[in-house]
Amino acid sequence: MNMQASQATQEQQVPEMAIHTRDLSLWYGTFQALHNINLDIKAGRITSLIGPSGCGKSTFLRSVNRINERLGYVRIEGTIDVNNQNIYDEDVELVQVRKQVGMVFQRPNPLPASIRDNILYGHRLHNRDRKYSRAEEDDIVEDSLKQVLLWDKVKDILKRKATELSLEEQQKLCIARLLPVKPAVLLMDEPCSSLDPKGTAAVEELIWELRGKYSILIVTHNMAQARRASEECIFMLMGKVIEHADTAELFVTPKHKETADYIEGRYG
């Protein structure tokens, strides 16, 4: 009850910031991977994270839905607010964080079940209070697949195993299965890195399509992709945020020398 009430108030005053971090530092054992990250990521926009390998961009992304904690030897200081709620507060439930913050991985990872069951997996986990009828579930499946532009392709093969789809379709499915629980934020960890150019274009187009409806944070190795498919861009280096600006601005008139050097391909 309490939860619903707070959700309602959150929906009324849509927060300007989807993700807001203060002095976030992260250690893998004794190795410090993130240093005092202070970021404000706007709601409803696509923000890309770029930087050379090992700069901490994936680590940061993975700490926003706390999937990092699977490793067991991760320590975190500072705060990450998602829709004004610090997800590292003691009374926060992991399951709720992951409902609010969906994640798409580098390699498409559909579960070894049917397309339909994949879409409904998260929905069924988070809506255990009542039984949904088949028709209601069908609607959810159709709606989610339409949002990722996959419905026409798979509407007749919903019972087929999701792992039989092409990689591009699998990745779209992985995005689609996040949508039924209405997440506030979508995290994408190099979502196109295992796709061919055609698949990359299709998924990029989809991400662009979702702009405005969800707050999207996307890690990419591919600078051209950041430029094409994001509205804001964050450049990270050695676990620190160097620059955060509108994508157009960052790529045309970078304020820091490191950013300029990276964009011009002098390292990374």
Binding site: N65, R98, P112
Partner: protein, 310 residues
């Protein structure tokens, strides 16, 4: 310049020389080949031997109806010896059935804990322990059944005899559990970690990840593990001989004593005249057991291999 010319045009020196290493290589290849196919030779050899020894009975005294449907195993009856294995099959089946009821929860629980929850040193230590447990000789298990379980069952359930289906089933279940745990854990390990990561990222708890994703993905391997346990149960001899009570009987409850197929062969073969009808009948039981365990193990193996491939 001159030398280079001859090297190109003439024969290379010593081109047809074989040194010792060549012969060693061939010899070792042959020996390794023999070792490699020895399993096939042994299987065929044993089956042939068992069949030949039991063949006389199969041709003459054997009646399908009597053998499988009579519950009277009375090979030493002077007037009219009968060879019915129904009661023995019932004994083996009841003990194996109870053993699986004991072993499946134990082994699957252990496999899930070792594979999904434990980490680092705990995990390694547990795996070693399970292997060690699998290596305990069956006579030791039989001894435990005889000297610990027997009085315990008499005391707890107030029954006259503690050597019965319950005793043997528990002993056999504990015996089969380690190997089943090993195979089941392999099956869980074969489930790619990205499935777990995906399910967790969607908000599944540890248990939901296991129950909704890992177990279904590993179900063939787990089935294979259970079948191997069943095969073990059918084939086990010593512990069953010691813990069942060795009384020919179709059990009405778990407190009845029974006798197993394997135990019958072990107990009686030494006391029969080689080549007699009784001797041959025991070998016919051997053929039957061989076929059953062969089919069970082959099925289990095919199932387990199936998941490795896909």
């Amino acid at each position: 310049m001159q030398q280079a010319q001859t090297a190109i045009s003439g024969r290379l020196p010593d081109i047809d020389q074989r040194d010792l290493a060549w012969y060693v290589d061939k010899l070792l290849q042959f020996l390794v080949f023999i070792g490699g196919i020895s399993a096939i030779i042994l299987i065929i050899g044993i089956f042939t031997f068992v069949t030949i020894e039991g063949f006389g009975f199969l041709l003459e005294g054997f009646s399908f109806k009597e053998f499988f449907l009579s519950e009277w195993w009375e090979p030493t009856d002077e007037d009219e010896p009968t060879y019915g294995i129904l009661a023995l099959v019932a004994g083996t089946a009841s003990v194996t059935g109870l053993a699986m009821i004991v072993a499946i929860p134990f082994s699957l629980g252990a496999a899930v804990y070792i594979g999904e929850f434990s980490t680092g040193k705990t995990r390694e230590a547990l795996k070693v322990m399970v292997e060690l447990l699998a290596a305990i000789p069956s006579v030791v298990w039989g001894f435990i059944g005889l000297s610990i379980m027997n009085p315990l069952i008499i005391k707890l359930f107030d029954v006259p005899v503690g050597l019965n289906v319950l005793n043997a089933g528990i002993i056999l279940g504990l015996m089969a559990a380690p190997i089943m745990t090993s195979i089941a854990e392999d099956a869980l390990k074969a489930v790619p970690d990205r499935y777990r990561e995906a399910a967790e990222a969607l908000g599944a708890t540890r248990w939901q990840v296991i129950y909704k994703t890992v177990l279904p993905a590993a179900k063939n391997g787990l089935l294979g593990a259970v079948l191997l346990g069943v095969g073990r149960g059918f084939g086990e001899t010593m512990a069953v001989l010691m813990a069942t009570g060795h009384a020919i009987n179709i059990p009405g409850s778990v407190f009845d004593s029974v006798r197993a197929l394997t135990a019958t062969i072990a107990a009686e073969l030494g006391e029969t005249a080689v080549g007699s009808e009784h001797y041959q009948a025991l070998f016919t039981i051997g053929i039957f057991l061989f076929l059953i365990t062969f089919v069970i193990n082959l099925t289990a193996d095919l199932i387990v291999r199936g998941i490795r491939k896909s």
